[in-house]
Amino acid sequence: MPLSDWRWRAAAGYAVGLIGGAIAWQIVGWHSASYVFVPLTTTLDRLGQLISDGSLPRALAASFSVYGVGVVLAIVSGAVGGLAFARRAILRQALEPYLIALYAVPMVALIPFLLALIGYGFWPKVIVVWLFAVFPVHFSTQRGAESTPPELIDVARSFRSSERATWWHVVIPYTLPFLMTGVRQALARGLVGMIAAEFFLSAAGLGSLLITQSEQFDTAGMLATTLVITLIGVGLMAIGRYIEARFARWRVQP
């Protein structure tokens, strides 16, 4: 049957890519100095070591706690901010230019300032994650709420809905898919912020682990940690896309 034939070829293509990459990894590793690159097998061995000696689990715990708190704060504050800006034009007029300017700052550049102001530790890292993650949520939510089709607002008005009812029944449901798009972007950006923060602001977490490993020329360790980070990134993106798709189900067609 044509459909399953296509599927088989796609799966075969991916499998070849995966196996080919693994083989390439192995071969390049064999032919490289050990501080430059190591074979896949060595990497997986080292991964096992990192898990068993606890350094990877500890780093994961530290990273996820920072990431979790930072992203949740970003989603909540971004959604509230976006809705507030949509509701009160004066807020938007007054503050939007500054938000846009702040969004244009490469957030990494602010990390030294944060370090000087609040120092190392959990909360400075959370603030960095928050800074990275909040803007997409805010802008998406605001854009969604502002673009609520006037016809639907009219429908609500024609039934004498209070403002609260209009927000609850019309604006917020309409805005949800936009919020979810913002959440997807926040998940990605927050992860970048987490790693960057861990490079500079602490001795715990995956980013910090990478720095330590680079200072010790533990390339196998770095590859192992990077592999873990890649898997986390891919997993988070899959979650983000799933959430976004689920809420797009009823997305109003333009």
Partner: protein, 274 residues
């Protein structure tokens, strides 16, 4: 039931409606026709309380309309259904915002669902429905609040021709069961004649009431009405007026009140019958 007196609406320097006046009696259907952009929708919005007039006023049951009043149900051209609510949820909307309890809402909504012929689709979402079914939902939603007045803005314009014909007859059937005062805006002259008891013709820049025509066809109306002589006479008169801009009120049937018997070939025109 509805009184429109000297209704005027301006946007900046642009006057869209000028001194529009007509009445709608209880349980009467008045169709409004006119060329595109002549402010039919603006007129409707003023009646529904969504837009505030610049001059003149609208009254419903004697009370002036300044914001959406009680007892008015509106049906929109593009259906205006909430995509995130089911058919049931959409129909129940007007009752929900009134704070009605779910127990009270349920039987009413179910009754309306069978009235408009949507049994089995209570849990469907708008994106799963055809245009005709969506508009049935819109109609049921408007009827749910038991309105004294139904305001309909080209309700069948977004539907294909067959669905349109079907829903016209559906609406007539529903009207027979629940006679309500209706203002029915449409682009289609045929539709205006089929649906309305009287027809208001808007024309000009800014729009004014060019003429008000008595349709003079009895109810209940069936599809066959379209072939009657009366229907064709009214339709042809409207065509002349609306499409070609010709035919002032002083021509065919001038000066006749609707109370008198009409000549079979000439529709009655009754502008300024006050």
């Amino acid at each position: 039931m509805i009184g429109v007196k000297g209704l005027t609406k301006q946007y900046g320097d642009r006057t869209v409606l000028s001194e529009v006046s007509f009445d709608v009696a209880e349980s009467e259907i008045v169709s409004i026709v006119g060329p595109s952009g002549c402010g039919k929708t603006t007129l409707l919005r003023c009646v529904a309380g969504l837009t505030v007039p610049s001059g003149g006023c609208v009254t419903i049951a004697g009370r002036e309309v300044t914001e959406p009043p009680e007892g008015v149900g509106m049906v929109f051209q593009h259906f205006g259904l909430f995509p995130w609510k089911t058919v049931f949820g959409n129909i129940a909307y007007g009752l929900t915002v009134r704070g009605m309890s779910r127990r009270a809402i349920e039987p009413r909504v179910r009754e309306l669902i069978s009235l408009v012929g949507l049994e089995g689709f209570e849990s469907a979402y708008p994106y799963q429905l055809s245009g005709g079914m969506q508009q049935r939902t819109g109609l049921a939603r408007a009827l749910a609040v038991e309105p004294r007045v139904l305001v309909m803005d080209e309700p069948f314009a977004s539907l294909d021709a067959q669905t349109r014909d079907l829903l016209q007859l559906e609406l007539l059937r529903i009207y027979q069961q629940r006679p309500t005062a209706m203002i029915f805006v449409t682009h289609s002259i045929d539709e205006a004649v089929l649906m309305g008891d009287r027809i208001v013709i808007l024309n000009g820049h800014p729009s004014q009431v060019h003429d008000i025509v008595d349709v003079g066809i009895e109810r209940p109306r069936e599809r066959a009405v379209v072939d009657s002589e009366r229907f064709r006479a009214v339709r042809d008169y409207l065509w002349t007026v609306v499409m070609t801009g010709g035919g002032t009120p002083a021509q065919p049937g001038e000066g006749r009140d609707s109370g008198h018997a009409n000549e079979p070939n000439q529709p009655t025109s009754r502008k300024d019958a006050k």
